[in-house]
Amino acid sequence: MALCLVGCGNDGDVSAGAPAGFKGVVRKPAIEVGSVALTHAVTGEPVEMRAQDGEILIAYFGYTGCPDVCPTTMSDIRVALGELPAEAAEKVTVALITLDPERDTGEILDDYLGHFFDRYIPVRVEDPAALQEATDAFGVQFEVADHQEGEPYEVAHTAISYVIDDSGTVVVEWPFGFDSPQMVEDIETALDSPAKSSARAD
């Protein structure tokens, strides 16, 4: 299989069988998140952490009260999508899963994501145990600061963006601060390589 083309491996350790050429962080074994139980922030319908066929889903855990980290990441992703040819950008959806369901209503999340993207999914899980299960599945850590009701508070959180393919596999992770040009490259790599479920070997 022509996985390792010229120019790949420049990131050092590319384990055999992993898609080559990603600029972000690739884990072996990859995280599978397709069956994580989440709900749409506005409709309440179940949401699967899995892209549509041939597309990718970028999942990010954050909160709208975050003035720096989250808008920066959202903005970086937006810039990256703006750099892609339209037909590629149309295959990317961004999901924001709120770590602050107390303050982030469906309406707020919908407005927030709509500020940055055309194709997005606002996700909100109200039950703390269910949210914890979801974050554990991704390896996301977060801490909501202690607060009195009505007082402002921060949420410390893992600020990684998870790029997910149509089989629910996280194919690459972007750390906070990952720059847009590298995001563009990884999106193109992800869209070019078939999902691992579509093995060409018979």
């Binding site: 600029k23 690739v26 720096d68 940055f116 390896g139 850590q141 600020a159 040009p181």
Partner: protein, 219 residues
Amino acid sequence: MNINSIRQRSARAMVAVVLGASLLGACSGDDSDDVSTGADGDVTTTSATGPATPDGGTEPAGSQIEVAGAWARTSPSMATRGAVYLVIMNKGEADDALVAASVDPSIAKTVEIHETVPVESDDDSGMGDGGSMDESTTTTSSGGGMHGNGMGMGMMEMRPVDEIPVPAGSDVELVPGGYHIMLLDLVEPLEAGTEIEVTLTFEAAGELKVMAEVREMPM
């Protein structure tokens, strides 16, 4: 006023500011590619001077603060918080520090100085923490283009700070992922193309008003 040196410093600062943001990104409504252009009031470079020497010499011996490249990120219409970024240059011989910031109450109710930092978690579950990935091998990106402090795989936290030190002769950048001036309880969304006045208070140099341009991204 030494415009050239300001432009050099700000160009360097601008490189740092856009580090992590795509240089290819379109700059909506911004037709200048040099953040420190003062010609048409795009960005104001303003200065404040610390206490002068007792003998009234022409060169102040205190701190000499200039601020350039002030910008605020546009906010989603229902967002209650915003952030302002800028570059502080201390051209004097005395250390100084940014100790407070404020805006008119018609913009936001409260203003704080914050920094974004990575945090350690007490929880030692392996996956999300950059340190313990014993069961998996990872490939990491080839450096370059990271915001702030570059430790992007762990938890990030924003916390208030009492001051931002600005040592004599140094530049300090408030950039995404690092220090920022946080606006709490925004009265109205921050809209691209507008400007907001921010009053900065320095320990030695006193108050300085700057105009921050509201933009979608650093450039």
